[in-house]
Amino acid sequence: MSELATLPTRHEEDWRYADLAALETVWPVATETLTLAPGEQATRTLVLDGDSAVVRDLAVTLGAGAEFDLRVLNAGKAYGRLSVRVVLAKGAQFRFGAAQVAGGEQTVEIVTEVVHAEPDAVSNQIVRQVLGGRATGNYLGRVLVERGAIGTDGSQSVRAMLLDRTATANARPELEIYADDVKCAHGCAIGELDREGLFYLASRGLPPAAAKALMLQAFLSEAFAGAPDEETLTAAALAALEDVL
């Protein structure tokens, strides 16, 4: 993911669902790099919000046995995009938890490329989206297991909750495996709020918007479980939800 000189087009796979008009306002986008030495541990929390377009591009290299925990709330009122490429050396661990919240005409997207370059590395991605209005939420996630990267464990769990029939979720988890003895799993699901749960909460006195917010907050918090900033992220997600409900 080196810096691109010219504005991407929709023909490029990673930009297929992008809001190119919004992208133009912040182009070009510099790549932020992060390298973890062997055995090093780091956590990062990114909140993409505000009224104008936010586009971030990360390139992460994890040394042998390094552990990186990245949590994201993508809830800008204009275009919000995070792309991240992670290369894992032997026994490295990458944990990714992202929540996307959008309403109106907004597009939010996350593009990941996780490269298991050496054996026994573990990557775990959880993406939760809540989309209302005519919003679009995208997750394009590629897991590449290179030749010889035996003992790889890679998982992707992507779920979206649509508040309106007019909202769109695009989820494309992708696996490319060139090694044996590899454990990779991906799942994605698009759904609506459980009506029975909503009625149960209403029967106890919760107004509909509060009941929805509570259930959606719980859904999004799956992306933040175990994060050092869990409480802050959950509160920020709730504030974002209140804007789209």
Partner: protein, 249 residues
């Protein structure tokens, strides 16, 4: 004057008529029991009073504390003092009972123009009601009903009722799934929370056993969407001995 008055209530669920002209009047200070065969419409009555979407009222009226119950949204019915104990309490992953219950209670208080309860005051209240129902208060920190046993779910329902302190409770088979000791604890809990001169209860049950603890003033038989017979507490015993066919015929 009656606290809850149901007149000729008719409804449809998924286009199918279930309640067919049901009338029932419940006064303050009274405990009523409804019994009736499977599929008679007992849970449908409970859900309809609670305002569950999909339970479309096609006729009749319901007055609660002088107000038109059917004109209210489900959460407004709760704020007006109605509580529905579910036959099958719903599991809500990720949402803790204390969190939602405090929000629910404060939403009700707000509607009634009362001050919200502080976190500390709420926890004290929740612990007190958990102790009354002998439910480990730690369970209330877990997601709503998730991983609870059948009996724990029913006890947690009664803890919620204790916290919300409703004027009127309709309890749909709260006794099912309870072991012998839990039945007594829940029965005594219902009495402690609801047996007051300004409150009333409608118990839906299949068995006399709950009625040994929560003694009803009136017993009704619901069959095919209507109340087909009403009587005193002795009617429950008669039903238990003879079955519905003999009594309803």
């Amino acid at each position: 004057m009656s606290l809850l008055s149901i007149t000729d209530l008719a409804n449809e669920v998924a286009g199918k008529p279930i309640l067919k002209g049901l009338s029932l009047s419940i006064g303050a200070g009274e405990i009523h029991a409804i019994m009736g065969p499977n599929g008679a419409g007992k849970s449908t009555l409970a859900y309809t009073l609670g305002g569950r979407p999909g339970y479309e009222v096609t006729g009749g009226s319901v007055t609660f504390a002088g107000e038109d119950l059917l004109a209210m949204e489900p959460h407004e019915r709760a704020a007006a003092g109605l509580f529905l104990g579910f036959q099958y309490p719903v599991e809500i992953p990720g949402v803790s009972t204390v969190q939602f219950l405090r929000e629910a209670l404060n939403a009700q208080r707000k509607t009634r123009g009362e001050e919200p309860l502080s976190g500390g005051a709420f926890l004290k209240l929740a612990r007190e009601k958990a102790a009354l129902l002998k439910l480990d208060p730690e369970m209330l920190k877990r997601p709503v009903n998730v991983g609870f046993s059948g009996g724990e779910k029913k006890r947690a329902e009664m803890v919620q009722m204790g916290v919300l302190d409703p004027k009127f409770a309709i309890l749909d088979e709260t006794d099912s799934g309870l072991d012998i000791d839990a039945l007594r604890i829940v029965g005594e809990g219902i009495n402690a929370i609801m047996r007051k001169p300004d409150k009333a209860v409608l118990l839906i049950t299949h068995y006399q056993r709950l009625l040994d603890y929560v003694k009803p003033d009136f017993v009704h038989v619901l069959a095919a969407g209507r109340i087909v017979r009403s009587g005193g507490p002795e009617l429950a015993l008669e039903l238990e001995e003879q079955g519905y066919e003999a009594v309803v015929a």
